[in-house]
Amino acid sequence: MSEAQLELTYTALAECIGRVGENKTSLLLATLALDLLSQQADAKTALAHILQAERLANT
């Protein structure tokens, strides 16, 4: 993904979160994460992403 496309994606998701509101943000992001994780090559890769996100969330 190019830098411009990354920026576009970032903004689109930020605005999407803003539209659904704080109450539904967790559900939105869990849905999105599950969708993307299901497209990973295998469970090992998906689990690595989950553990990384958990570690970063606790910083």
Partner: protein, 546 residues
């Protein structure tokens, strides 16, 4: 000391506002032979450092009036910066830069120095009358000119008639108010406190940013070095904080101290200036209203992030000066001034788009952007691919796409280089005076860059330089040779930079506007000069016959 009674009754151009844009425009107009009167409400140069980051493009523009040398000598040049999340570096960026460059990508300097240097340049050139403590109070625009009323420090009122009034009187422009015009757009709620402190430091000159630093958890802090041992510190205040309370020293100084302690800057320090800021994306829809023109903050307000405020104002001045000079001196019709508005409104809209992106990161406007920033900063500690999201998107010259001055190009003629509407690329080369730079040729008049290894320039091209027109209306024909010796009309591109950056072949010709933008380019100009005649006719009322 000039007495009040010596105010002129009539001047070609009045500039409302003697800030950096107004004084630079005055110097540029003077350089083109147009006299002007500058009316500034304040008693002298600005207080506080205000705009401090001067882009390469702005340095070029100030160079047209000889104000670049003191700027570069006094200022602190820099090429990049670092961003930190909590304690971790998450971005180290560098702007395009090369050892032989004419100007650094950015120079930090207090705004009042810019004002002084522009004023000194105007005084040196002559024809500029700057009046301090002269506040514009009323503007009456007519078809044939503008009457401007102003009040001086002694309470006396005066009136001056001018052919053209240029409003450079800032964000709260009196001229704009007098014409009943309003800025359009939006502003962001997030606020930043701006603090200048004096402290001795040996730290490298870089743009420094800390997100959620241990010194001020939850905040964002920016730091820039300035000359005279001054730090500029910007920090984000929480949404619930009262802006009046936020700028009180008892609330500001402990935060600054905590951060200086954190980064190991232990020398004694004192505060110099405190202000507060929120990002604005506002513009007039048009910068020309008959004989009144708008430039700088009077025309547009863009977010501070990316340093597009003063830099875009100086670009306004650079775009307007030559056009206004041509019109004022009868070399061009008033319609040329419409292109100023078209081009610079376009530039503002682009600056606002970039500025909005930066602001969404630096001062997130809602929960969605705040959450995404938290995610991006954390991810940036392990994933280089997301680090560009943190990049501050520094000011860069803007393409005037769709400008009425751009000349059409034959399809497929060029595979690279700079097409019409782009700034003419820089190149290091040999001049008669020794090593020099291509952009140093710009800023005075039209320039035709003729890329050729043949020492004799064809007569079909020589005619354009021999019209006898002076000032901004003149055309200077410069041959760019790949090798050989430089002379008054030939520069030598020994490094091959110019030929490569202009995608040149034998006989290629670029027509460059007085503000250093490409107006058109042709492969076979000597054999078919008619398009060049047509290009000049777009601007000038009289062009040479073939």
């Amino acid at each position: 000391m000039t007495t009040a009674s010596s105010f002129p009754d009539k001047v070609p151009v009045v500039i409302a506002g003697g800030g950096p844009v107004g004084l630079s425009l005055a110097a540029l107009l003077a350089r083109h032979g147009v006299a002007c009167l500058v009316l500034e409400a304040d008693a002298s140069y600005c207080e506080g450092s205000r705009a401090i980051c001067i882009s390469r493009r702005s340095q070029e523009i100030l160079g047209w009036v000889g104000a670049d040398r003191p700027l570069v000598d006094k200022g602190l040049s820099w090429v990049g910066g670092r961003s930190y999340f909590q304690g971790t570096e998450v971005l180290h960026f560098k702007m395009p830069s090369e050892p032989t460059e004419r100007f650094a990508p950015m120079v930090n300097i207090q705004q009042y120095y810019i004002e002084q240097y522009a004023h000194a340049a105007a005084a040196r050139i002559g024809g500029v009358d700057v009046r301090w403590s002269a506040r514009v109070t009323a503007v009456r625009a007519q078809a044939a000119g503008v009457d401007v009323d102003f009040e001086t420090a002694d309470g006396a009122t005066h009136s001056v008639h001018t052919d053209w009034l240029v409003a450079c009187d800032g964000g709260r422009s009196t001229v704009r108010e007098q014409l009943g015009l309003q800025l359009e757009g939006m502003q962001y709620e997030g606020r930043y406190v701006i603090v200048d402190i004096e402290q001795d430091t040996q730290r490298a000159v870089e743009r420094l940013a800390w997100f959620d630093p241990p010194s001020n958890p939850g905040s964002t802090i920016l730091m820039h070095r300035q000359p005279d041992n001054v730090w500029r510190i910007d920090y984000q205040v929480a949404d619930h904080e009262d802006p009046v309370e936020a700028v009180k020293p008892e609330n500001v100084l402990p935060r600054v101290q905590a951060h200086l302690d954190m980064i190991g800057e232990t020398a004694p320090w004192k505060p110099l200036w405190i202000s507060i800021y929120n990002a604005k994306c506002l513009t007039l829809p048009s910068y020309r209203h008959g004989r009144v023109l708008f430039a700088g903050d009077a025309a547009h307000l863009v977010p501070i992030f990316g340093v597009r405020g003063l830099n875009s104002g100086l670009d306004d001045a650079g775009n307007l000066a030559w056009k206004l000079a041509l019109v004022q001196q009868g070399h061009a019709s008033q319609a040329l001034l419409d292109s100023y508005s078209v081009e610079r409104v376009l530039a503002t809209r682009e600056n606002i788009a970039y500025g909005a992106k930066s602001t969404e990161f630096m001062a997130p406007p809602h929960h969605g952007f705040a959450l995404m920033r938290e995610a991006a900063l954390r991810l940036a500690t392990v994933a280089p691919s997301v680090r560009p999201l943190i990049n501050p998107r520094q000011s860069a010259p803007i393409e005037y796409a769709g400008s009425p001055l751009n000349q059409p190009e034959r399809a497929g003629a060029f595979a690279g280089g700079a097409h019409a509407g782009l700034p003419a690329p820089e190149a290091s080369l040999q001049t008669l005076q020794g090593p020099g730079h291509l952009t140093a040729l710009f800023g005075t008049c039209f320039v035709a860059l003729y890329f050729s290894s043949e020492p004799d320039v064809p007569a079909t091209l020589q005619q354009f330089a021999g019209t006898g027109r002076a000032g901004a209306a003149a055309l200077r024909l410069v041959r760019v040779a790949a090798q050989g010796a430089a002379n008054a009309d030939t520069v030598v591109d020994a490094l091959g930079q110019a030929w490569q950056r202009y995608d040149a072949a034998e006989g290629t010709l670029y027509l460059i506007r007085p503000d250093g933008y490409v107006m058109g380019r042709w492969r076979d100009a000597a054999a078919s000069p008619a398009p060049i005649t047509a290009a000049l006719a777009r601007v000038l009322t009289e062009t040479p016959h073939e």
